[in-house]
């Protein structure tokens, strides 16, 4: 036990005194979490301050078009940056491509007739929408829907005005015809068990993702220490000492596990305390602390096994660094770390099942987002432990062949 404690002390001291390792394990993921949580906040939070900029060019110059623009001005997520009455099409395109605006809305001279015409065919389009190509398709769709809804409201209002007597006879009230969206659709988030969680926010999406991502970066200090020991001859010195080498490996695993858990606590604290301080959303930990500990432990052990395997197969620190990081990035990309899995095509989503980072992320999301318990993460934990065993076994065989 004293031997194990000595080995753990040395390994932990080495990591916490290595600025590069601390940067990779703590500062880099904390920065990712802060940046991603704050920048994605508006996308995840309904009714947030996220706005799109629109230039409106009114060619109709009618009471209807003026009323429509007035309604658009009141919408929280739309900012009309410029309102003109005869801007050429080229000028609109230029303003969008130069970043002055995200959208350009042209109300054509057919706008009024489109609002008032209830009998004939739709005819010419009453609006043309210029869109910045880089705008996400979900935002494009949201803006188009919003413009359409407001147009239909205007058109319906016009219908009511034209047929006020008929509406009164039928007992239909104009103001009730278009109720508020929340009165029609009540959003509820599906959780595994327990009470329904708060609306998932950007922090809850990004903290688990970047936490899992950063945990695998333990490959860097592991390989650095391993290859330094090999190159400096400390491994040779250790082999000249009458000690069971398994203690050395066990000591390393326990040390890195402690570092991993410190990393988890730090990242969760960043999500819980630091992100809100900077105006972001508070992260929830779910309702199963044991489940959270279990999935964190399984991801930690898997990342350590990965680090040891990469160290064993690589010839030097440089090779371990590049190979280790490249594989993490590939597995992150297909595992839903960088881009949420639900926006991926079906084929890519199927591919994500081969990524240990995806198993870890799903486990964290089950606990933190879906309010799951231990029973909900057993399959992910089993996969992580199983692959850890395979990687550690392979590492042992390689080390025995190459070094021990």
């Amino acid at each position: 036990m004293r031997l194990l404690a000595g080995i753990i002390k040395k390994e932990v001291l080495e990591i916490i005194r290595d600025i590069q390792s601390l940067f990779l394990l703590i500062l880099m993921p904390a920065t990712f979490i802060l940046v991603m949580s704050l920048s994605m906040q508006s996308l995840f939070q309904p009714g947030s301050d996220f706005t799109v900029k629109i230039i409106v060019n009114d060619l109709d110059r009618s009471p209807e078009s003026t009323r429509y623009i007035g309604v658009l001005k009141k919408i929280k997520n739309i900012t009309i940056v410029e309102q003109t009455i005869g801007l050429p099409e080229e000028a609109i395109r230029k303003k969008i491509t130069e970043g002055d605006s995200n959208f350009g809305l042209v109300l054509t001279k057919h706008f009024t007739s489109a609002v008032r015409n209830f009998a004939g065919s739709p005819g010419e389009a009453p609006m043309v929408l210029y869109i910045e190509p880089a705008i996400q398709s979900s935002i494009q769709m949201g803006v188009k829907n919003q413009l359409l809804v407001e147009f239909l409201k205007l058109r319906t209002g016009s219908f009511f005005d034209a047929n006020a007597a008929l509406a009164a006879y039928a007992g239909i009230k104009k103001n009730n015809f278009f109720p508020e969206p929340d009165a029609v659709i009540l959003p509820r988030f599906a959780v595994k068990s327990g009470p329904e969680s708060a609306i998932p926010n950007a922090s809850q999406q990004s903290v688990p993702a970047w936490l899992v991502f950063s945990m695998y970066f333990i490959v860097m200090p592991i390989s650095l220490i391993f290859h330094t020991e090999k190159n400096y001859g400390t491994l040779s010195r250790i082999r000249s000492i009458a000690m069971d080498i398994r203690y050395l490996i066990a000591g390393k695993i326990v040390s890195y596990y402690i570092i991993s858990m410190i990393q988890v606590v730090c990242m969760l604290c960043v999500g819980r305390f630091l992100v809100p301080l900077l105006g972001g959303d508070v992260i929830g930990f779910g309702s199963s602390p044991a489940g959270l500990f279990l999935i964190a432990s399984c991801v930690g052990i898997n990342s350590i096994a990965y680090g040891l395997l990469i160290s064993a197969v690589s010839k030097n620190t440089q090779m371990a660094g590049s190979l280790g990081v490249i594989l993490i990035i590939i597995f992150s990309a297909i595992g839903g770390i960088m881009v949420p899995k639900f926006v991926m095509p079906a084929a890519m989503q199927s591919l994500s099942i081969i990524s240990p980072l995806a198993w870890g992320l799903e486990g964290f999301l089950d606990i933190m987002l879906r309010n799951g318990g231990i029973e909900d993460i057993l399959s992910e934990c089993a996969l992580l432990v199983l692959t850890s065993g395979v990687m550690l076994g392979a590492t042992g065989i390689m080390l025995k062949k190459k070094i021990l």
């Binding site: 000595g6 005194r17 010195r237 000492i241 009458a242």
Partner: protein, 307 residues
């Protein structure tokens, strides 16, 4: 103390050690000398249990290396060629860590750290990180770690590479003191011939995996530094004539011409007298009291770049 018989080691197709036979006396300092790739480090690595041999037998204090590796390791200390320490740890933390691996704890560990750091003259810097040490201090820490388990046998593989003259002198003095005070058997490899000459009781010269010379320093190095000319027979009168020349002495069948500034002239005169006497020169060689000359003579003077 250490008996090596028919020791054989190869890496793939390259023979690193070829049928080595060697005895190392208890309490002696044995200097292992040889050019790059001679097999010095391989031999030390096998003796310390770092490498496995292919064939042969090694016994240490009657213990077989194959059957009792841990017992042998327990009485063995090693100071490897590379700096086998952790730069991010302080000297004390390095010593504590390796002491723990040696199974030391409590007062015994503290005592051994105190002894080793004192022996390596590191006590004033013991709480400084090893990475901040100068090259000489790192080498001394490397030595201190090797002394932690109070070894009966201490292997030092080129322990003074890259250190200044003062540190080198200090380390050699320390090694000699440990050998004298604790009767530690020391096996010392070095590229520095002067170090081996200075420190060793016994000298082993290795080349291309084989021992080409071994023995006590006294036996290996002649007392004289002269050209030895072996002749068939010379009369007493010739012998007297030769002995009359400055720097020339005659012993039975051998004429020694001292190696000094007059060597060339002396050789001409000796050759002239021998020719006049009709004596036949059987052999000529240098007898040297300098290890470097002997070493270069035995291992040839060509560069030994490793492939």
């Amino acid at each position: 103390m250490i008996q090596i018989r028919k020791l054989y080691k190869s890496y793939d197709d390259v023979t690193a050690l070829n049928a080595i036979d060697l005895d190392i006396r208890e309490g002696s300092i044995t200097g292992l000398l040889g050019p790059n790739g001679a097999g010095k480090t391989t031999l030390v690595s096998i003796l310390t249990g770092v490498l496995k041999k292919n064939d042969g037998q090694v016994t240490v204090q009657g213990l077989d290396l194959d059957r009792n590796p841990d017992e042998i390791k327990a009485i063995t200390g090693m100071v490897p060629q590379s700096l086998a320490l952790y730069p991010l740890l302080t000297a004390r933390e390095n010593l504590e860590y390796f002491g723990t691996l040696y199974g030391l704890s409590g007062k015994r560990l503290r005592d051994r750290i105190a002894f080793s750091s004192e022996a390596a003259s590191l006590q004033p810097f013991i709480n400084r990180r090893a990475g901040k040490f100068s090259g000489g201090m790192q080498r001394r820490l490397n030595l201190a770690i090797g002394l932690l388990n109070d070894p009966k046998i201490l292997y030092l593989d080129e322990p003074t590479v890259g250190v200044d003259a003062q540190s080198r002198r200090y380390m050699l003095d320390t090694i000699r003191r440990i050998n004298a005070e604790r009767c530690t058997t020391i096996v010392y490899t070095s590229h520095y011939i002067s170090e081996i000459e200075q420190i060793s009781d016994d000298i082993v010269i290795l080349d291309e995996g084989s021992i080409i010379l071994s023995g006590s320093k006294e036996d290996i190095l002649s007392s004289r530094d002269a050209l030895a000319i072996q002749v068939d027979s010379i009369s007493g009168a010739v012998s007297e004539s030769l002995s009359a020349l400055a720097g020339v002495t005659c012993e039975t069948g051998v004429i020694y011409v001292e190696k000094n500034d007059l060597l060339a002239q002396s050789i001409i005169r000796v050759a002239s007298i021998l020719r006049d006497a009709g004596a036949t020169i059987l052999n000529m060689h240098y007898d040297t009291n300098r290890l470097e000359e002997l070493y270069l003579h035995l291992t040839k003077k060509e560069l030994r770049d490793e492939e």
